[in-house]
Amino acid sequence: MRARLGRYLPLVIIWLPLLINAAHVVGFTAWTTWLSFTPSDLLPEYSWAGVRSYRAVLRTPSTEIAYINLLLYSVGFVGVSTVAGFVLAVLIDQRIRIENLLRTIYLYPLAVSFVVTGAVWSWLFNPGLGIEKFVRGLGWSSFHFDWIANRDYALWTIVIAAIWRGVGFAMALFLAGLRSIDPDLHKAAQIDGAGPWRYYLRIVLPGMAPVAISVLVIQLQYAIKTFDLVRAMTGGGPGISTTLPALVVYDFMFQRAQLGRGTASAVLLLLSLLVVLVPYYAYAHWRARKDKAHG
């Protein structure tokens, strides 16, 4: 009896969660994809409508704006937060005294939810309440900073808020990476006469590549599914200038009650995630093979 339990228990523990997960993730993804090819409106309908919903979604101006915004937002947010996170990590790695305190401070924004981040930054950027009013109060009365109310710059306020929240996370990962570099390498480099600049460029940076890839991929998938930050900060406005694909999905699904179009734009969003994940897995696969070859 006990022996049989011992044999089957691991299988149950592995397979049960796996099946539940598969039912949720794969099942609902399949259902969503199926609905996107139906004429569903207020309620699901299961007849075939071909790519009608996709055509309608792609012709909607908010879709175009959303994907252009996503591109700018991803490049801005992921690029700056990764580079800044690395620089912060290098600076903290200089065996300074209050490292623990600084690390906590930089990592702290990550503990704040996107909604709170968005609300606070929307007040800071609000010309009548935040930075502009503060600087004017100091005496610089012609100071102008109304990005959040200006449709051409509003997206960058969201990028700034996202960087503020994400940079600590990048720093923490890079710091862990820096700590994992064998200190003997540092000594060896010093003995060979390499200065700090050369040491970081030739030894640390190449060693950081796997960490950098992880940071990029994690931040990028955050960027693609960003929803609450924009909702709390600008609500997609002014106009529809700061809308993002996730907001478009929500808009079709729950504001306009057009299930077919909502699911179609959700599938498009999923495809855009694949743009990130497929190269990542290709890279991981390539690395695994390379490591194997080196034995």
């Binding site: 309608a56 449709r151 406005g237 306009r256």
Partner: protein, 425 residues
């Protein structure tokens, strides 16, 4: 004693008319109801209706879903899919027809007929509430979206004593206010607010163009000269608003408006209820119609309604009958409209009492006049003229236009036509 006898008589008459009720009298009438009205004057009004329902011996179970109407509709949709719709829910305009196709509703024709209701309410409303030829929903209150609120302190500062009659006069006053350091337009920056300002401009330029472009979606009218003029006017509004208003609700500006730091607000009659609820004094505000270039009154209508969903439980069906009967009553409508600042659906209500405001009397007079001259229009921004998907697509264009100076009025008009085509699929 007399009152009781009259009640008894009415009760007997009702029993004779609807034997169905007689059987269900054994149970206590109960109603489950969902709406977005959770707080403020709307919340107070619906709570008042609930109390009245309880006084008549019913059990009132209201579950408000705060937020936009669409949030409430998501909950309603979930409950319908689960096969457990509320006995009644808030729903309005053309959505009544759309939603009545996805779940069975209650035919309340006998009650409406018994009350002689059809003769008492505007015909634009009747069609919306009997989409398949039967009454399945009832309007609760009527609002005019084309209402102009002027801050008397602000008027005083620029020496204006009368409300503008045309858009040219309006623009003159706004320019004067701007010169005096007053923010001329006190509207907010929400999507529906953006859409409503265009609807106000267009209906104030030409009633016929509004009917053709917004209600009948005639592509020629959507690109017509009146629409272009309205778009130009809508952009003027935007330039006269608080530049910090990104996506703020208009009510944020009400304190500044009452003080005279902001001049004019174009908003539905509900703003009266909101001002009262804020503790503001309506004497500080001149309430009238927005300008109309044609010189004839026009009434852009927004109405809140309630739809009845089919339930088998005898207590719920009894509750639906009782609620529908109450909602058509004069005294119930008076109570409701006095709380929210709307005007009653029945056209035979006397608004001369002290509990009504000048704004309500004026709106009611305009409704009656517009009703006779066939100049009642349905609101776009408040989901009365078109279904949700078409409205949303049109407001996408409008909100982008008012915030983006690079889009010309001609381009915006062309985009409206494309957006409507696309939304229809």
């Amino acid at each position: 004693m007399v009152v009781q006898r009259r009640k008894l008589l009415a009760g007997t008459a009702a029993l004779a008319a609807f034997p169905g009720i007689a059987r269900s009298q054994a149970v206590k009438p109960r109603v489950t109801f969902i709406s977005q009205w959770s707080s403020g004057s709307d919340g107070a009004a619906i709570t008042g209706l609930g109390k009245r329902f309880e006084q008549e011996g019913g059990i009132w179970q209201h579950s408000p879903v705060p937020g936009f109407t669409t949030d409430m509709m998501n909950k309603l949709r979930a409950e319908i899919i689960a096969g457990n719709p509320p006995a009644a829910s808030q729903l309005k305009g053309p959505e009544i027809a759309v939603w009545s196709k996805i779940a069975p509703t209650v035919n309340i024709d006998p009650l409406v007929e018994a009350a002689g209701y059809e003769k008492l309410i505007p015909s634009e409303l009747i069609d919306l509430h009997k989409p398949q030829g039967h009454w399945i929903a009832l309007p609760m209150q009527v609002y005019r979206t084309t209402t102009l609120f002027m801050s008397r302190p602000a008027m005083k500062k620029v020496g204006v004593t009368k409300a503008p009659k045309t858009w040219a006069e309006f623009n003159e006053i706004a320019t004067a206010m701007k010169g005096a350091g007053i923010t001329p337009v006190a509207n907010g920056g929400m999507r529906w607010d953006d859409g409503m300002r265009l609807e106000i401009a267009l209906s104030g330029i030409s009633c016929d163009a509004y009917r053709a472009a917004i209600m009948n979606l005639d592509p020629k009218a959507m690109k017509g000269p009146e629409m272009i003029e309205a778009l130009v006017q809508a952009r003027k509004f935007q330039k006269w608003m608080d530049p910090n208003t990104a996506a703020q609700h208009y009510s944020v500006h009400l304190p500044a408006f009452l003080k005279g730091d902001m001049g004019m607000l174009m908003m539905g009659g509900w703003a009266q209820g909101v001002i009262k609820n804020l503790g503001g004094n309506l004497d500080d505000v001149l309430i009238t119609s927005v300008p109309q270039n044609e010189g004839k009154p026009v009434f852009v209508l927004n109405a809140d309604s309630m739809i009845f969903w089919k339930r088998k439980e005898p207590d719920l069906t009894a509750g639906q009958q009782l609620l529908a009967k109450l909602m058509m009553q004069k005294d119930v409508q008076e109570q409701y409209s006095q709380t929210t600042g709307s005007i009653p659906v029945r056209t035979d209500v006397d608004l001369s009492g002290s509990k009504w405001t000048d704004g309500q009397r004026e709106a009611s007079a305009v409704l009656n006049e517009s009703f006779k001259s066939k100049r009642v229009l349905l609101s776009l921004a408040h989901n009365m003229a078109q279904t949700n998907p078409i409205t949303a697509a049109m407001i996408d264009v409008i909100t982008e236009y008012v915030h983006n100076d690079k889009v010309t009025p001609e381009q915006a008009a062309a985009q409206l036509v494309t957006a409507v085509d696309n939304a229809r699929g």
